[in-house]
Symmetry: C2
Subunit: 472 residues, 2 copies
């Protein structure tokens, strides 16, 4: 090959000249027009031929060299690589079209959503959050470097004080691990706790917990609930050694675990050194009846792994959760975490630390509690005539941000059918059992945190209007 | 019990009155002064006795009820729970003090850090990032609700365009999964890819990859490298079916995989339906020699899982990484992800989307490339007299942001000793092998991305000053 004649786009060019040359030669090689071991024109001659600078050709050739399309022989020149030609790409079927299910937002699927994983977004303290975020961003360059895999110590210190004061959690900052969501922290816990131990989970319970643990190949026991929460006799009989519970507000039943049951579970955990209770305090701050219920962790900080999240107290889209580990697990955890990086942006960690330290979190939570309490009262009030007329009983309304409505079976089926027909999202209690069956099909679950009054009214009317009690 | 005499703090009180009453009664029960089934004073009588409102006593009693310290008997009153008294907390050893190893920042441990996981932080576009972040925050409430577990479609669309243009990655937004770091995405991949398949990893290679996969109980094969990267014959012989490689810039050797080797590995992957190559493109944008090397994914998008991160192109503290999955894996992935939540804040996802769409990312990368290229040239120039005098050879300097210096063994030991004595952080190549041995002990690895010129000079002088070649 004496020289290439390349149609270079010289003016107003989108692709730099060196890249045009590189692409041309690549294509000549790939198409087989340039054969293995064929000599390329010298850099100098090609530059002269194309009337471009030597530099430009040098860049193109060095890219070809780097990627192995050509090789150089000392004092001789550049040649097409033989190795390249020996392998060619396999023939392929045309690619499968990606499923068209993708929507831009998941919210559009429902007209009214009685979701359990949502908050009232109109009250978010945008101004404060923006102000603090800006302060953090301008606080210096140190927040750009890689952080502690357990989370920034500033946030862990803020959390520690906050948890002590508001949740009676007994810990030091070194016991806290911050992560992007409870699911992620569970994935870590699954790696910290010996694989041969079985986890006991509440049944009914939170489906994501089950799925995340099963995805980590963890053995699970499903423990039924009685009116006080996870049944200790069933737990003992199960052979499980790690109990995952939601004592402040059992999800989804809303049961608050009484103190005696708490002590009983703590006794169970103390029977063996390797036993632990995981306390998922997802609803921690939102006991609408008064002061938050003190954490289980505060009763035995050596046996309880405490977990919570800011999904409810701030917003589900801000991915900050945390766990508090017993001291005896710290060494193994730290050894493990040295191979992981924190999953939360240091900017957001520090914004949150300032938000907590400045008292904004507490103020926000109090405002939200008032709002949710009023919303719940309104919801119950608006439901009242229907409840009485249709023989519906309400439960779970003490602590949580959803109601459970239990009703005659035929009525539940009709209401559920209406929900589907009117694009109203609600849940059946049966969905939360490990094995879906008829259990709980006549109990409907309606979250009210994210639904405005007008929507509540409209949805309730659509669900229950013009229904009669008794067989339909 | 007729009535309690409680010393209430009535003025300037830190604890609300209802909580003071609650706490008093709790303590009476816990201490045993109030016995099981003992009757509490009626709400009305206690309110009168303490001269407080009935409402206050009602709140305190309802908290005690909620938590199970007391029970109520219809038309009779409130009694101390029997159940509570049956369980008492186990006696405990005093808790172990947490290890004192905790420091506020990890950076303080070194005077000079030739780290490989850092960036030049002085060039971060704070102003633009702050401006875009604020725009996002004020763009509406919709970003507060829970997002798509694969990541926001806005960011996936931006990434898709960006990857097409700059990395020759062939994909649609639906193939992208966004997550808080490569480690997290690997944890997900480990759950997507059947557990019985063995992963092949580069040896030497990135330690965190190995640790994260082993932590997920994945079987690993360690595949040696030749001068073109992972050896295909060793890969074939290993029995592994998933090859994890860093073809654009092998970590830590800096080898750029030639196109023939790429094709050979793709042929290997095409031998069986379940085989895949994971392309970790951590250094994607920073080929300092010119245009980035096109991705392996672009050569066979059905067989390559592409992963990359913004740790290098923005900052390691902003936890945004992504993977591009072959279409055939999408259904299983989406089914699985329905039980997970995204690990990246939607605020930051959307800030990044605007940063990419506005062309800021590309501009920033180009600026950083120039800066790093100059820094590398300066580094090499400043090292030059030492290299020549001490018989040190440089490698890995084509694509990456670190240099490998290979030298006589005794010299390497002396330089490493000096590094430790002077608190200079550098690495030995031997640390990156699956099994640490003498291999690579005479090759030192120095990252230069985060080190300013003056520091480079000082550290190089401390490491190599007044040394002589030959036996020391």
């Amino acid at each position: 090959m004496n020289n290439f004649t390349i149609n270079l786009e010289r003016e107003d060019r989108k692709i730099p000249l060196y890249e045009q040359i590189y692409l041309f030669i690549c294509n000549e090689i790939k198409s087989g027009r340039l054969k293995a071991d064929e000599k390329l024109p010298s850099k100098r001659s090609l530059a002269a031929h194309l009337m471009i600078s030597l530099n430009t050709v040098e860049t193109a050739y060095s890219m070809l060299l780097q990627e192995g399309y050509i090789y150089s022989a000392p004092r001789s020149g550049y040649y097409v690589s033989r190795a390249f030609v020996e392998f060619s790409l396999p023939e392929k079927e045309p690619p499968i079209e990606p499923p068209a299910s993708e929507t831009r937002t998941s919210e559009t699927r429902f007209k009214y959503g009685f979701l359990t994983n949502t908050v009232d977004t109109s009250s978010f303290p945008f101004k404060t959050w923006a102000k603090l975020g800006k302060e953090v961003l301008y606080s210096g360059q140190s927040l750009l470097s890689i952080g502690d895999p357990s989370g920034d110590v500033t946030l862990r210190e803020s959390l520690c004080k906050y948890l002590r004061e508001f949740r009676a959690v007994d810990c030091s900052p070194s016991q806290i691990v911050i992560g992007a969501g409870i699911e992620y922290l569970l994935m870590l816990l699954n790696r910290i706790i010996p694989h041969e131990l079985t986890f006991a989970v509440e049944d009914p319970g939170y489906g994501k917990t089950r799925a995340v643990l099963l995805g980590g190949r963890r053995k699970l026991s499903y423990i039924p609930l009685d009116h006080e929460g996870m049944s200790p006799s069933c737990l003992s009989a199960s052979g499980a050694d790690i109990a995952y519970i939601t004592p402040s507000c059992q999800f989804p039943t809303g049961i608050i675990m009484p103190v005696a049951r708490r002590l009983e579970l703590i006794s169970w955990a103390n029977e063996y050194e390797y036993r632990y209770i995981i306390e998922d305090d997802y609803n921690s701050e939102f006991n609408l009846m008064g002061k938050p219920i003190p954490s289980l962790q505060g009763m035995d900080s050596d046996k309880v792994i405490y977990m919570s999240t800011f999904s409810r107290s701030l917003a589900p889209s801000i991915r900050i959760a945390y766990m508090v580990l017993p001291k005896v697990l710290l060494k193994d955890t730290r050894d493990m975490l040295s191979s992981y990086s924190s999953t939360v942006s240091r900017f957001e960690q520090n914004t949150l630390a300032r938000f907590i330290d400045g008292g904004y979190l507490n103020r926000h939570i109090n405002r939200m509690k008032t709002l949710y309490r009023r919303r719940k009262e309104f919801f119950l009030e608006y439901l009242k005539p229907y409840l009485e007329a249709l023989d519906i009983t309400v439960s779970g309304d003490t602590a949580g941000l959803h109601l459970l409505l239990t009703m005659p079976k035929a009525l539940a089926e009709e209401v559920y059918r209406r929900a589907e027909a009117n694009k109203i999202k609600l849940y059946r209690l049966s969905e939360f059992y490990a094995e879906e069956s008829d259990r709980g099909r006549n109990t409907l679950l309606l979250g009210f945190a994210g639904t405005e009054k007008e929507d509540l009214k409209n949805a309730v009317d659509l669900l229950f209007g013009n229904l009669q009690s008794g067989p339909i």
